[in-house]
Amino acid sequence: MHATLCDIVTDIVQNSIEAGASQVTLEISTNPEKIEICIGDNGKGMDKATLERAFEPFYSEAGKHDHRRVGLGLPLLKQTAEATGGAVDIQSEPGKGTIVRFHVSAHHWDTPPLGNLTMTVLGLMSFRSGYNLTVTRRTPQDSYQVSRSELIEALGNLEEAGTLILAKEFLESQENELDRSRE
């Protein structure tokens, strides 16, 4: 069972990368009332029949993983969103991509914590694939945006332990600044 919203975010962004997206966007907005997350991609998209089954537990698109189908990412997202006073919406078009939007109530007692966003973003940027991920983080007081391509340009790569550690420090400093602006 997923314990944090970041776990759900990791699942959904992975779906985008596995759908062959070259551009993935992750937007996370938090305020005292709501946590809103939007994940968009320019991957292969889903046709109507697949989209209708997307929230079905254990359904995974044919051919995605031979002999290995978990198919719980979106069902767990739906369960979490609806159990906490939120909602989820998916729009998708074959050949164009997919957008997954969801929000949860920030003060519902069942709402999972956001989790360790720094390490989640770092992990999402270190998959072995040719894609760009742009992360936008917003609070009512401040915001920041960082992309995988910018980090690779600054560091040379996001594969070596040394560059990952520096990237982690960079991402942590952005989140810490958001925390300071809230005080």
Partner: protein
Amino acid sequence: MAKLTLDALRKLREEQQKTMVMRDPSNKDTQVIVGMGTCGIAAGAKDVFNTILEVLEAKNVTHVRVTQTGCMGLCHSEPTVEVIVPGMPVVIYGNVKKDIAKQIVQEHVIEKKLLDNHICDKPAMDIIRK
């Protein structure tokens, strides 16, 4: 920590590279791959990824490549970590918790010794890239 800019990040990287030139680059082709599918995440793979990075940093072993991948087909043994060290068999460790992750870095990556009791498998046949 003050908010870092990309320019500051570039400078930190340049300083790091100057230091790395003086170190033994023998880990350059070593890869550590952490499984981060739904199953891995639920089993605690993120903690494993964090721990591996922390230990590598503490040991000043910065050439090693650390990446993530999706489900490797070993959901029953998550978290899983694949380790590729030139000259050694490619192995997947299963049921990796933080203490095992530390051992993987110290014993397999640095000391070049397999952790026989924690080896799970080779990569699943359907995901071996041809």
